[in-house]
Amino acid sequence: MLLTITEFLGHFHPLIVHLPIGILLIGLLLQYLSRKEKYTAFKPAIPLVLLLGTISAFISCITGYLLSMTDDYDESLVSWHMWMGISVALVSFMLYAKEKNPEFAINKKLLALGLFVLVMITGHLGGSLTHGSDYVTKPLKNIFSGDSDIAVSAIKPIPNVQEAAAYSDVIKPILETKCYSCHGANKQKGGLRMDDSLKLMKGGKDGNVIEAGDADASEMIKRLMLPVDNDDHMPPKEKSQPTEQQIALLHWWISNGAAFDKKVKQLPQDDKIKPSLLALQKAAVIKIESSFIPKTPVAEADQKVVAQLRESGVVILPVAQNSNYLMASFVTDTIIGKEDIALLQQIKDQLLWLKLSDTNLSDEQLAGVGQLANLTKLNIAGTNITDKGLTQLQSLQQLQYLNIVNTKISSAGLMQLTSLKKLESLYIYKTNTATTDYASLKTTFPKTTIDTGGYEVPTLATDTTLVKEKKTY
């Protein structure tokens, strides 16, 4: 009973606390102004204002003390706030006394200045207690870092969620944004502090909040799942609520033992949790890892050469933005110019993909292509090349994709390319390779998927007939 009355009175602190701040500051202002002749009329009001300020300061002290008993705040911060508050009350009383009785042997200016500073400090400490110590500076940080998104969500996307640490990368950021303001370093409502793994597992005044391995029995999950209007619901109605996915992640983490040192991939994942986990990495820029592009960066190609090639009708582009690697295609201009192959050789460090299909490519020119050592994809389908020219490609050690569809290449020609260790896919549809050679080609290129083509889609009776209504007479 007593406790509830204390709590009730304590809850008036945030309201009353604003009175002394305002009244005392007005008192100080009047005092300052009244020194000027124009405002001497204010003088009689000053003692009254200071008295009112002093009284409200004392009431604030009392209610503040009651509040500190009922709620759990950071101890050192509370004690600083308390003593500063008491000083405010005392100093303001002294100032009042000095006004009433000018013979008091204290410097009035010093006293006034001291009171002003004390009010500011106490106010700031109070603010830190309720809103967190970085409340004021946070927006500024965001302005200077130039990224306003941080203000929206402090949860940073995870590049690869499976490799991420389950607690510190997935769970902790949720707790940080939704729980720490009341259960963190500054405040420990209900005796619960969550920003420290040991204290989190220890729970609060009413016992454990996490039952490792049994999420449904955990107080934390129970509270999260209560209807928002329920008084026990956490976070309180007026605070920002976690999303369903975030709750699902917390549930999943606790169900799987609430481990602090495991990676996401080490914990079992059912189909329900997978989307929530994946969603964490969604916000990140998903880069399609392409095996066709080397990981090592390369210097920019000579732009004059690139421009020259473009001039002659070659489509030439970086493989992606921010990449210096290039792809080239002769799809618009199917006649390879005299200079073109020589120009391509000048950018051979950068050139990865080359499409020469349906051009007038000759064996001679193919020899030039054979020197483009970094090529990973080469399409020479529908050209006049022969086995003799193909031999020139032996040096393309990086080649992964080779398309020789619709050419005169034979199995004998292909056998010369055994040195291409990285070759993954080989398209030989409509070449001079004989069906009988396919087996030996398979054994010659064990790691390569060879597509021999020649697929047929048989014509079924149903393909050319129509279903008709059965007439009943």
Binding site: L278, I286, V331, N403, Y429, T459, L460, T462, D463
Partner: protein
């Protein structure tokens, strides 16, 4: 009124005017102090428009279709989108529901009807069991019905998304939603976005080609391949699938090609003068379109002619040269993609199986529609595969919504034929090629195929996935319009990671 009174009146008016001027000027200054302060504050706090490289306009009016690099290396270079306009029934093709068979002929439970709206179903309809036999195919064990025997044979190349949903139950808005990201008119279609973002490799051909079959354009009309607020050069170029693919391609009698070139040059010169005066980028687009048209006179007849294809290819696709049919369009799509066209959109009309007549009956006309597309689509996938092009060509097949597990009872009456109504809550689309997982089924519907119970996706998610395969973050491909950057998926869309290999 005396002279003096008049004089006084005039003085009074002048005085009032002076006061008003004073007043308004002060007023103005006072207001602007606040207003400007507010603007300054907003700018200080970072509320102003942001210029980041990602939101840059990709449009170069002089070379609008120049090929561009994607933000990250995409798996797909081209897209072939096969749209079965009218919405095919998932329950007779890919979504096998034996439980529904057991309910065949029974009254539809109230729980499925409460709070729902249908296009034609009224009162309590009967349930309609699957009207086709199903079997599992390939190593992936995908369920495909007897209506698509050829496609079933290549089930291991496909990735089915069985949990598609939409919020539009009429054809036109649903088609617009699928292709432009909104059920209302005015937004660019996906092909326009892609050509805007990537340009096209072959400068002699349009970047975005549209072919229709089935005797009608889709219900949403040409807006489903429109360019919306994007520069008009990005709209789909519809080619005729019979006769000349583009009208007036050939030089008229007495007009030599040189003369034609000269006249186009003259027109372009006039337009260039016009541009100097008005600086309207649409004029530059017009110039480049004239040049494109001139080049197309040579390139289009060559690529749009299927007569030169060998017989075995015609046998494979089941094409009928000289006629207008879906199979011809499918073969054309392959030829276009081979020549570096970025986006090929095929619409085939006639899938609206309501059961109002035999051609729209789920056990008659629908089967015939399946027979028209089954063989050629299968041939397309295999043909691209043997040419080494399936790796870089994304194929998407689907309709604009699904069909109800209930038999349609238009006006509350029994229909002459078996049919199903429009259904928004579940339908199947499939994708193939270009880094899409092979032989996979994603998402599930409930026991009777009424609604998606896992992996539910929206048209926005499909769009996001298509853009992702082309090398785009769908949230970054934007165009400024009406004061804000717009994107295809607008505020929605999530890449379906599970279907990416």
């Amino acid at each position: 009124m005396t002279q003096k009174e008049l004089h006084n009146q005039r003085l009074l008016r002048e005085a009032e005017k002076a006061v008003m001027q004073m007043h308004t000027r002060r007023h103005f200054i006072r207001e602007s102090a606040m207003g400007l302060g507010g603007v300054a504050m907003a700018a200080l706090f970072g509320c102003g428009p942001k210029k980041s490289p990602a939101s840059q306009v990709l449009f170069d009016p002089a070379h609008p279709l120049m090929p561009k690099m994607p933000p990250f290396p995409g798996k797909a270079k081209s897209v072939i989108y096969l749209h079965m306009a009218g919405a095919p029934s998932q329950l007779e093709l890919f979504d096998y529901k034996p439980e529904l068979m057991k309910m065949d002929g029974q009254d539809c439970p109230q729980s499925l009807l409460e709070g729902k709206r249908f296009a034609f179903i009224r009162g309590v309809p009967k349930m309609l069991g699957p009207q086709a036999k199903f079997a599992q195919h390939g190593q992936s064990g995908a369920w495909v019905s007897e209506n698509m025997p050829h496609l079933a044979s290549i089930a291991d190349e496909l990735c089915f998304i069985k949990s598609c949903s939409t919020d539009q139950f009429n054809h036109a808005p649903a088609q617009l939603l699928v292709h432009t990201g909104t059920p209302r008119l005015g937004r660019p279609s996906i092909g326009s976005w892609v050509t805007y973002g990537l340009g096209t490799e072959n400068q002699n051909l349009p970047g975005f080609v549209v072919l229709t079959s089935g005797g009608r354009n889709p219900d949403a009309g040409k807006s489903v391949w429109g360019s919306g607020f994007l520069p008009s050069v990005y709209q789909g170029v519809q080619c005729r699938s019979e006769g000349d693919p583009v009208l007036f391609l050939n030089d008229p009698d007495g007009m030599s090609r040189d003369l034609r070139k000269a006249s186009i040059d003259a027109i372009n010169q006039v337009n260039a003068e016009e541009y100097k005066e008005y600086n309207d980028p649409e004029i530059l687009s017009r110039i480049s379109q004239y040049e494109m048209a001139y080049k197309m006179q040579i390139s289009v007849p060559e690529v749009m002619n299927i007569n030169d294809e060998p017989k075995y290819i015609h046998d494979m696709y089941g094409t009928k040269p000289g006629e207008s049919c879906f199979a011809n369009n499918v073969l054309l799509a392959r030829k276009l993609v081979e020549k570096g066209v970025r986006f090929v959109q095929l619409f085939d009309w006639g899938w609206d199986s309501h059961g109002t007549d035999a051609s729209l009956a789920i056990d008659l006309g629908f089967i015939n529609k399946c027979r028209q597309v089954d063989k050629c689509i299968t041939a397309l996938i295999l043909d691209l595969k043997q040419r080494g092009l399936l790796e870089e060509t994304l194929i998407v097949w689907g309709g604009e919504f699904g069909r109800t597990p209930m038999q349609e009872n238009r006006e509350g009456k029994k229909m002459p034929y078996k049919g199903r109504d429009h259904h928004t809550e579940a339908f199947t689309i499939w994708m193939a090629g270009a880094g899409i997982r092979k032989g996979h089924s994603y998402g599930e519907t409930d026991e009777i195929g009424y609604s998606a119970i896992s992996g539910k996706v929206e048209p926005f998610d499909i769009q996001a996935t298509i853009l992702n395969q082309l090398g785009f973050d769908h949230e970054k491909l934007t165009y400024p319009f009406q004061g804000r950057p717009f994107r295809l998926t607008d505020t929605r869309g999530k890449v379906i990671d599970e279907i990416i290999a």
